[in-house]
């Protein structure tokens, strides 16, 4: 992304493996993502594409069998991968926050909401009353009625949608510079999803930081994001501004995604368009282009050589042999 | 931690999945790779072997009194020494394994059958029956086992049958609860309803569907109860309330040794060892099997 100022978050050539009993699973391969200051970057991908891994890697919360094989995660020019536990901890909740996918399990069931929201302010000076007030303010901002009352309640007294609002409130509490939202609406039903989206749009106006918004819901991405990154099977296959991606997609996978998006289907036809085939087995990723096995426009170089990144414009880049000046499909 | 180890089990949600013969073979193969499990298996096999062939293995006649040889500590002829009547302790220990085996295995077997029947009845039958049975189970649960045993012994006197009765009464509720939970969860599942719509009666349903699902975990829990039962019998005999003399129950030998603890400490040492080996053996084996069959059960059991 051609942004004069240095991006807030720069993920550079990140490769991550998971150790499994059958060998290493190459979950992320040479992934690079930039999140400029004050922008919302959408990360799109199917299940298993590595989106959550990327998010968790940034927070330093990956599971034990994850191994970073290479690359850097630069946050404000500091490589997060080199930080020790205490340094990471000082960033979490204050400069970088995360909202998780499943609101039903993300909150501690035996502590009250207020208790949890006060706990995360433990580093701030000030007495409990102030912290409580701050918590109530945030609850009000995310649209929870009667917040003072509800601070004393427990997570199981709230619906999924409300719990996610609480999670968002908690995420915003430290005034973070970067908010990572890992599929915040995936676990919610359509009504709740709509409410959360509405909330996010409202908050967007006041929130000064950057957001890394992860989802497989293209409609949401289109509504909220400035930039979009398309992730497939552990690789970034295309990225650009939201107009670039939605109006001028160049990578066959991106094109297919847009065609298959249920929200965009304009013709009533007998069959739903799908992308044939399956996500590749990451124990043994394809030697050429990662999308080659399923690509409708695959041709000779695709299976043997990995395509490099082609800059299509100042903002848009895709990874495909078709764009390298080779034959077009 | 002896007799109520398994009574701490709350009703377990049993993984629904029929046991196929290939699973058993897999289990066997995997068992051979687990050291502790193998050790457990070896110890259990030792117990079985000793129990079955006790009369042939014992170097001396267990009840043979031989006063000149009394109160000797362990030697080459008497591996575990002799007691105050000159009886060879080692032979008595070997004979004791027979009693342990009979009490342990047979009472658990009876409790299993009874538990299966009652559990299925509670799960499948009418609500009032279920409630009654549950109340009965909970009441028995609320008796600490040894207290229950002592009460029954007061009333019925001391004998092998009394002990077996106590064991059956105190362990059946645990199995019955497990079976009941399983039955209840299966009762309303779709394929049962389908079977019933085809005319299958409750007995058939229970035998063909509930039974195979519940047998696996049930056997594992039961196998872990066997050492508890053996311990209970030993304990009661130790108190003088178990199998009457001159039967060579381990507990009784332990008691005799206890009375002579200052002068003949080898007796208690010898009598304690088979108990330890037996309980360790069954526990290792049971744990290993349980881990292999369903790791989820580990938390609850």
């Amino acid at each position: 992304m051609a942004d004069a100022a240095a991006p807030l978050l720069r993920i550079e050539n990140l490769s991550i493996d998971f150790q499994s009993s059958r060998g290493p699973v190459h979950a992320l391969r040479n992934v690079s993502v930039d999140v400029p200051r004050g922008s919302i970057v959408g990360l799109v991908g199917e299940s298993g594409s590595g989106k959550s891994t990327l998010a968790l890697a940034t927070m330093g919360l990956m599971q034990n069998n994850a191994v970073v094989k290479g690359g850097r995660i630069l946050f404000d020019d500091r490589d997060l991968l080199t930080l020790n536990a205490a340094e990471l901890r000082s960033l979490r909740g204050r400069r970088i926050s995360m909202v998780f996918q499943d609101p039903m399990t993300a909150l501690n069931p035996v502590l009250s909401i207020g208790r949890q929201m006060i706990d995360i302010q433990y580093r701030d000076r000030g007495n409990t009353v102030d912290k409580r007030r701050k918590a109530a303010d945030l609850l009000r901002r995310v649209g929870i009625p009667d917040p003072e009352q509800r601070l004393g309640q427990f997570p199981n007294e709230f619906s999924g949608g409300m719990r996610q609002r609480i999670a968002i409130a908690m995420g915003l509490m430290g005034n973070p510079e970067l908010l990572i939202a890992d599929e915040p609406t995936t676990a919610l039903d359509v009504t709740m999803e709509a409410q959360i989206v509405h909330l996010l749009r409202l908050l967007r106006r006041d929130f000064k930081g950057s957001i890394l918004f992860i989802s497989h819901n293209l409609g949401l991405i289109a509504e909220l994001c400035d930039y979009v990154v398309i992730l497939y099977a552990g690789e970034v296959v295309e990225h650009g501004t939201v107009q670039d991606i939605f109006h001028r997609p160049r990578h066959p996978y991106t094109e297919a995604l847009l065609v298959c998006d249920p929200a965009r289907i304009e013709q009533v036809s007998r069959e739903l368009p799908t992308i044939s085939g399956d996500v590749p087995n990451l124990l043994n990723p394809p030697s050429g282009c990662v999308f080659a096995p399923r690509c409708p426009r695959v041709f000779e170089p695709c299976r043997d050589r990995q395509p490099g990144d082609t800059a299509l414009s100042a903002t848009q880049t895709a990874r495909c042999h078709l764009l390298n000046g080779g034959a077009h499909g | 931690m002896s007799v109520q180890a398994s009574s701490v089990v709350p009703p377990v949600a049993v993984a629904v999945g029929a046991e196929s013969p290939s699973t058993l073979r897999n289990v066997w193969r995997r068992l051979l790779h687990e050291r502790l499990g193998l050790l457990g298996l070896a110890l259990v096999a030792l117990l079985l072997f000793t129990g079955i062939f006790a009369d042939w293995i014992a170097p001396f006649e267990p009840n043979r009194i031989n006063v000149p040889d009394r109160m000797q500590s362990s030697s080459l002829t008497h591996f575990a020494g002799t007691d105050q009547m000159g009886r060879d302790i080692f032979s008595r220990i070997i004979k004791g394994s027979q009693i342990a085996l009979i009490v342990g295995v047979s009472s658990i077997a009876i409790a299993l059958v009874l538990g299966l029947a009652l559990g299925m009845l509670a799960g499948y039958g009418p609500r009032w029956l279920d409630n009654c049975l549950l109340l009965l189970f909970d009441t028995i649960y609320s008796f600490p086992t040894v207290m229950l045993a002592l009460t029954v012994i007061t009333l019925l006197g001391v004998s092998l049958k009394t002990i077996m009765l106590v064991v059956v009464v105190s362990t059946t509720p645990v199995y019955a609860r497990l079976v009941r939970t399983s039955t209840l969860s299966l009762k309303n599942s779709e394929f049962i309803l389908a079977e019933r719509s085809l005319g299958a009666g409750p007995v058939r349903v229970m035998l063909r569907h509930v039974l195979p699902n519940v047998v696996g975990p049930l056997l594992i829990i039961a196998s872990m109860d066997i050492p508890s039962v053996i311990t209970l019998e030993a304990g009661l005999s130790f108190l003088g309330l178990g199998v009457p003399p001159p039967a060579a129950s381990w507990g009784r030998t332990l008691n005799e040794g206890y009375n002579l603890i200052r002068d003949a400490p080898w007796i208690v040492v010898a009598a304690g060892i088979p108990l330890i080996l037996t309980t360790l053996g069954f526990t290792f084996l049971g744990e290993c099997l349980r881990d292999m069959l369903d790791p989820k059960l580990r938390r609850i059991i």
Partner: protein
């Protein structure tokens, strides 16, 4: 919450009633005659008559049950057959010793077991974790009376560090504690391992759960997470376990009291059984059942108070 409490109390009482009913019914169902058992074969018919009337056994069974319960409520559990003293008094004399023993045994098991389990979960696969794991299995399964006898052999008979017999002199607390050490040790040993295992398993499960991940994501300190987020939840099943432990420990206490010749309910009942002192057996068992029911009920209520998930499902 109040409704739940009342419900549990009612259940506990109901169980006591059923227990007594069962006991009295068994007495009448079995062959042989309790009065003959008590009086011996040389009793004359007149003595038997008198005994029947004295014990209230000439009444129909339901009446007997009601009479027993009625008397139990006002604290009359009959008379010790041998000393003629009220059973309640006899039990009250010995109960404190047993309770002290159980408290001491359970106490050290909790004090050692829970931290051990917690540590094992947090420092998984460390030397302590592996050591605890192996030892736990061993101590859980080995019968407590075997442990007690071996302990007595090693520490009292051979090493002479602790007294082998009795509960110590009345009024001398230090002496009583000295006498308590070995029995409590033997009683609690199995539970150290058991508690450690349960706590470890619960903690591991919880530490892997999403809300712990959330807490980390907000930068909470590890210590805070372990205690306020993980242990707080892991402790709940442990509470249930401890209340059930009371029942098991009561059983084990019988042996421990016998082995160390300590006064207590266990010894009382064993002696009563040997002498066919049937009112004492009945009374003691009844009290034990009542206490145990009380224990489990209190544990249930405690959990309901601590765990909002349980409260909301009531």
């Amino acid at each position: 919450m109040l409704a739940y409490a009342l419900q549990r109390i009612a259940l506990a009482l109901l169980i006591c009633v059923v227990a007594i009913t069962a006991l009295i019914s068994i007495i009448h169902a079995i062959p042989g005659d309790p009065v003959t058992i008590m009086l011996g074969p040389r009793a004359t018919p007149e003595m038997r008559e008198a005994k029947y009337r004295e014990m209230g056994m000439d009444q129909p069974v339901p009446v007997q049950i009601l009479r027993f319960l009625g008397k139990a409520v006002i604290g009359d559990l009959g008379k010790d057959m041998w000393s003629k003293r009220p059973v309640t008094v006899v039990v009250a004399e010995t109960l404190p010793f047993t309770l002290a023993l159980i408290a001491a045994g359970l106490g050290w098991a909790v004090v050692l077991g829970i931290p051990l389990g917690c540590y094992s979960a947090v420092r998984r696969n460390s030397a302590i974790d592996k050591f605890t794991g192996v030892i736990s299995v061993g101590t859980i399964s080995i019968p407590s009376f075997v442990v007690a006898i071996y302990a007595m052999l090693i520490f009292a008979v051979k090493l002479k560090w602790f007294p082998a017999i009795g509960a110590g002199d009345r009024g001398d607390l230090a002496d009583q504690l000295h006498h308590l050490v070995m029995p409590a040790f033997a009683l609690g040993l199995g539970w150290v391992g058991y508690l450690a295992r349960i706590v470890r398993a619960s903690m591991l499960e919880i530490m892997g759960e999403h809300h712990v991940r959330t807490a980390r994501a907000f930068g909470l300190r590890e210590r805070s997470i372990i205690f306020r987020y993980a242990l707080r939840i892991a402790i709940l099943p442990t509470i249930t376990l401890i209340s059930l432990a009371f029942g098991t420990l009561l059983s084990s206490a019988v042996f421990t009291e016998y082995i160390f010749a300590r006064p207590g309910i266990g010894k009382l009942v064993v002696d009563a059984v040997n002498f066919r002192n049937y009112p004492v057996v009945m009374g003691a068992v009844f009290i034990t059942v009542a206490l145990f029911s009380l224990g489990t009920m209190l544990a249930d209520l405690l959990i309901a108070k601590l765990d909002p998930r349980v409260r909301s499902s009531l």
